[in-house]
Symmetry: C2
Subunit: 418 residues, 2 copies
């Protein structure tokens, strides 16, 4: 254990402050590795369900540590810190996908109930592992290859043509670790990193898919195998960062919605996912039939940005459902409550005093649901999201909601000033 | 300051652990005196709005202390504890109405921003003060009198007839401090207590109103005078304890709904209430017109049991609205989201292991919203509430929802076992 992080054991407190207070009644402790906004947003449903969270946080002022009483500080790759902490949790789940497999293996050996399991989680940690597995399962993916050499790259480019999408199999997020490369010269710096961190097993190359739009479907699965899916949503990205979510995806072909949802539930079942999972996909036009179909882009095995709309927009939020799933509690109803729900991410701009800013927004739009993560403003950082819901199912009513969400996010980040 | 409660100051920590961590961005600290379920249920909207709560709690395992990181322990009547704690809060509000006026006066003198103000709060602390003020304002009340002697009682009984409702002006709650007395013999023990705690200024006598049903309307008012009202609800009581809430009150005469709402907003304005307030009322038949009208029964100047339905059932919950109001933030939309919302209180029964019990309920009803307060089971204690919403506006659809809520509450308290 790193003595600079977790509280040191003492004769008075042999567990070093690692035992959370819990209520009477047999309610369990859910441990979450990582104190980001996803852990933070688990706290409201934990309050309602009388569940105790214990967050292994990056710092005392991490987003979740500010709102969860039991948030000892420790690093997610510090094996002894994780072992000491996990002993006092009934189940352990994750705010992010960064805990190394070798650390997870020891925790599993200790008998810690990890959700998702290391064997499932590897498919969200390693994009090559994910592509291999989904391809073996026959799920639709962009054409892809593993590359270690310039020759591997040339071979794949000969098959699918330039540009290529080059991805680091491990460690990428929010557009980092991904590059659209126009030719071999742009891939060369990547090849020189092969064997190093994130590229140990080579590069992942993918065809540059011509897609209509991006979709996401979130599903939940419990250890006993119960599963539930939220409606398929449309996600809008800018610079690799999700900026808007429209729920449900407007005008989506019902057959495509059904096949994508079935695909996601099949992935959850085949991979043994426990907790919630996001399947991000490209909507594409099938060149043979001219119909709409999908290709899987990414998997995330935790609450996900494309599911933040569910806090206000569905009967059971992704955060409540994640807690229910990892505890093997019966899952809640994932139905949407309104014809439309639109959410927009708030990214950091130049103005640090968010409190004064949101006061004005509240006056402008009494129906706006504001969610901030307790993080300081840094350019481009995800600081929060806003959600509005309602409408009559028409495109016009969605555009009105979308405009309200977009305006609020733009105003909070200083893109618009009135 | 009581050294057994608040952390003791030390050279390393001159504020004795009373300074809450707060996020960057100018967000305030809302202090709440009392760590019960009302303070606890403020935490989810505080998380969303990036507000920091500081709860002066009865114990480290108080309902709110289990979920709010900054919850120093101190007694609500310990003046020095309150002063030391309140210095670090931007505003101070209340989980209950038990802080003595003389303590509030010192805090106000210190410059603490109290919401509601002591001058407003006294009308929720002292039922005689409330009756006097509402009568002076011309608001409809049951006929009432102050009594110190048997002669006072006889005079009032001669006017309104037996039985009489006898109330302790101060300190009553959930049916305690209230008795329906059939004759002078039952009032005699009350008279012997006049001058003692709760009865310092005498007894409050009220006529026993023949009412159709009980209603409640919740309003919010901010220091700058903005006000908002939720729909009028029907409340069902058993043994003086609220057991069910139906929102909106089914079949309510729209004119009565409007006049009760106007009355509540007028009370909030005239008394200078800041934060949320519940006005509990009897629906009665006007003997002159045969039409429906109301009589004010009680006031509560804080979130209230009759508003718990708003967490799931309205755009802005009473807890979010209370935080917005005490901070003088613009108020949120109080509209109901569905045609009907039904909630039922969970009272303590014989079976202490609530976790196992709610697991079965989740399987039975995936749309049920469960809210537990982290309190141990004691017979009759309010442990939580359950809410369901939906319907098509018909009486049948309300009865279906009400049945689901009623069943869930009965099951959790062991009244039914399947």
């Amino acid at each position: 254990m790193n003595p600079t992080t977790l509280p040191a054991p003492s004769p008075d407190d042999p567990d070093g402050g690692l035992v959370p207070l819990r209520p009477e009644g047999g309610f369990p402790v859910v441990g979450i590795v990582g104190g980001g906004q996803l852990a933070r947003m688990c706290q409201p449903p934990a309050v309602a369900l009388s569940l105790t969270l214990s967050v292994l946080a990056e710092s005392p002022t991490a987003a979740a540590a500010l709102v969860v009483p039991h948030s000892p500080v420790g690093h997610h790759a510090d094996l002894e810190a994780l072992r000491a902490w996990a002993r006092h949790c009934d189940v352990v789940t994750f705010d992010h996908e960064h805990v190394p497999q070798e650390v997870l293996a020891v925790l599993a050996e200790d008998g810690v109930a990890l959700h998702p399991s290391p064997a499932a989680l590897v498919h969200a940690q390693d994009k090559l592992a994910m592509r291999e597995r989904l391809t073996a399962l026959g799920l639709p993916c962009p054409r892809w290859a593993r590359a270690r050499t310039a020759e591997d790259v040339a071979d794949f480019a000969a098959e699918v043509g330039w540009p290529l999408v080059v991805k680091a199999p491990r460690g990428g997020y929010d557009g980092k670790g991904v590059q659209v490369c126009a030719g071999p010269a742009e891939v060369a710096p990547w090849l020189s990193g092969v064997g190093e961190e994130g590229l140990a097993d080579g590069l992942l190359l993918e065809e540059a898919v011509e897609f209509t739009r991006e979709l996401s479907v979130m599903v939940a699965r419990s250890p006993s195998g119960q599963a539930a899916a939220w409606p398929v949503v449309e996600t809008v990205q800018e610079g690799g960062i999700n900026t808007e979510v429209l729920a449900p995806a407007p005008g989506l072909d019902p057959d495509l919605a059904a096949s994508l949802t079935e695909g996601a539930l099949r992935i959850a079942g085949e991979l043994g996912v426990t907790g919630v999972m996001a399947v991000e996909a490209f909507e594409v036009t099938d060149p043979r039939t001219g119909g709409a179909s999908y290709l899987v882009n990414e998997l995330a095995m935790r609450p996900h940005n494309s599911g933040h709309w569910t806090i206000d927009g569905s009967v059971t939020s992704q955060f409540e459902q994640h807690l229910r799933a990892v505890l093997d509690l019966p899952l809640g109803d994932p139905s949407a409550r309104d014809p439309w729900t639109a959410s927009a991410n708030v990214l950091g701009g130049d103005y640090p005093q968010l409190y004064g800013t949101y006061k004005h927004l509240m006056a402008r739009d009494p129906g706006l649901k504001i969610h901030l993560y307790g993080k300081g403003v840094r350019p481009g950082r995800k600081l929060g999201h806003v959600t509005v819901y309602g409408g009559d199912g028409s495109t016009e009513s969605l555009e009105e909601l979308r405009g309200r969400a977009r305006h609020a996010a733009d105003y909070l980040q200083g893109v618009v000033t009135e």
